[in-house]
Subunit: 269 residues, 2 copies
């Protein structure tokens, strides 16, 4: 996983590169693609537009086109599906894509029969106007991070993300004097007993007001996707409650143009 | 880097294991050590007490003893030095330890001639009673994370940590409605122009009140250590300002005993 401008990974020439960017114009993805595509044994691009598509075509990369979502973050199902697809293709194994497809069938059923709007409404109400601190462990770590960023982007609210057991060693000391923060604790049925013990201990010792949410699935990926759906819905609910436009993110456009103006003003290093 | 209970790394049998725990009783370090020591080609332990020391001796591991600091977080210089020492020894190269030693000489001089207390006092005053959000990039990422945890542990205050350019894509949308947060932006002289552009854009677009701190060194490690010293001092200054005991962390002891009681109450999985 590379997500900045400068990482130099200790790679041999025997690696496959998968570049993923909904817009095809994410600056750090482009810079890293230019650097890493040169020596890669195989290249795939999940995008469908922008400079990344042009680069992909010029390099003869495997390309999967995405598009049509309201915004990149709502294109997540596409991005995930096509990333699994090119990954399966690059490693010559069908199981990653098959597992995702089986799981997405079950999720479709779940969403049509018992769409969990009430749960997210309850969590949003419990959170109120406090700041969410999302806690996650093991396979739910990337999901917890998405909860935070979806609350940031959709509801335009501060939200934070921490990992357990790590927070047991430091962050646990933070909360005694403040009532402005509220913990959303993500749990999965695959967590080890030790991890559950660390969560139990954190919640008790920190004194944080909190909600624990348990996600169940036959596989880790199923739990991850169920939790992702709930987090996305929660962020939209919070936007509604705060009368905020979910889709518009004018500050991200502003960031892009400020970044460009800064880069034009300085000589390349 | 392994910091939880369940990671299964795709390791061959050709790896060296370095386990680091000041107390020698960190549960996740012990569990992972038991799992990973079995197949490791070489093992080193930086600890000096607890169950980890016993395990290390029974496995014939290279052991470096640490101890005597007020608390694990103040043992950081020891932990770093001995981790570099065993790393140098395991890979059969002297440069990592030599580079650290050269750098620590310069830092000693800096700390005796121009100890940066005034800077940390100014930053602490500017921060006031707002919550710190520490931003870092590239080689300063682990340092930024330590700033957050030192503010948590020493000053017992909430503090948060984010990475740029990543935050440009989501967190930038969070701050318009709130004045309770204050950004501490860590910058290094080795940052790429693109990274500096992303920081410039974030600060402008987010509208966050902030202080930018620039650290200079001949090497990345020197910048990292200078920034670490400033962060540690800042957290102690904040503790003073809030009349908080820097050393005592009763909640961490409570976490450990709660964790044990939970584990005794359930059957091992």
């Amino acid at each position: 996983m590379v997500d900045g401008f400068d990482q130099d990974l200790p790679l041999s020439s025997n690696y496959a590169l998968i570049a993923v960017s909904y817009s095809g114009s994410t600056l750090e993805t482009l810079e890293q693609f230019k650097k890493l595509a040169q020596r890669a044994r195989a290249i795939a691009v999940v995008s469908g537009k922008g400079e990344l598509l042009e680069l992909a075509l010029s390099k003869g990369a495997l390309v999967e086109q995405v598009g049509g979502a309201l915004a990149p973050r709502f294109g997540f199902p596409q991005l995930l599906f096509f990333t699994f697809k090119v990954f399966s293709s690059l490693i010559g194994e069908s199981w990653p894509l098959r597992e995702l497809q089986e799981c997405s069938k079950k999720l479709s059923e779940w969403c049509t029969t018992s769409f969990p709007v009430k749960l997210t409404e309850k969590v949003a109400k419990d959170l109120g106007d406090r700041y969410a601190v999302v806690y996650a462990s093991e396979h739910l770590k990337p999901v917890g991070y998405r909860w935070k960023t979806q609350i940031n982007e959709n509801a335009k609210l501060p939200a934070f993300f921490s990992v357990l057991p790590e927070a047991n060693h430091n962050e646990v000391n933070s909360w005694k004097k403040t009532k402005e923060f509220y913990a959303l604790v993500l749990k999965g049925s695959f967590y080890t007993t030790h991890t559950n013990a660390s969560i139990f201990a954190y919640i008790q010792a920190s004194g944080l007001q909190h909600t624990q949410l348990e996600f169940k699935g036959e596989t880790r990926i199923e739990e991850m996707l169920r939790a992702t759906v709930i987090g996305d819905l929660l962020s939209i609910k919070l936007a509604e409650m705060n009368s905020v436009d979910v889709v518009a993110t004018p500050l991200i456009s502003q960031v892009k143009s400020l970044q460009q103006s800064f880069l034009k003003g300085v000589k390349p290093c």
